[in-house]
Amino acid sequence: MNPAYQPYHPKWHRKRMPIFWWLGKPAYTKFITRELTSLAVGYAVVLLLAEICALARGEAAHARFLRLLAAPPVLAFHLLVCAALLFHSVTWLNLAPKALVLRLGGRRLPDWIVVSGHYLLWLVASGAVVWFLRGGS
């Protein structure tokens, strides 16, 4: 018998969960919001790729791309994307001490040190990105 198969059990009763089960409690809503930030991450890297394609295709294509970026609805949507990306960064970096346990002299480094280190790294990386986009000045 296929082990994945389950025999018919007429007595089993499973209560159906509503689709929006995660709206009932703030903690659940925060969890699903955090999970949905992956859409913003995917969108951001695809948009980055789209700009690189537009640049490769020439000035006219890139000018069209920039006009699209400046359209108010697109800009408003991108503000939302930025908010989601920031939410991703904060929730991701706050979880760092759960994934990374550092020991110094046999004692575990406290969580706040690991978190601060990651935030410092975030600051340095953001500075490097802006520095690079400004052309190294």
Binding site: S38, V41, V45, E51, L55, A70, L75, H88, W92, V130
Partner: protein, 116 residues
Amino acid sequence: MRRSREPFFWALFSSGGMLAALVLPATALYLWVARPLGWVQAPTDAELVARLAPLLVRLVLFFVIALGLFHWAHRFRYTLYDGLQLSHLYGLIAIVCYGGATLLTVFAAWTLWRFP
């Protein structure tokens, strides 16, 4: 017993999440908010191309794009399973998510290789 592929995809998800957390907010705010609003001086096309052309820069861009895509694929897959309770579509959702990320990664590699 067949070995699970989960750790492999989890590693991509996790490195993509870290890279995205560190570089994407600054990139998005600079390129897609500050630049269209005129808060920063927009680089010309020639300047942008010159900045993105070095092989090392294109390699970094490839990792940011590819790992960001696999971060999306893995996390969104589970959002669909748990959030919308679609676990009965397990195989289909996995194929669409990882397949989509793979196709876009191949396209990104091709585009960046030929750039500019």
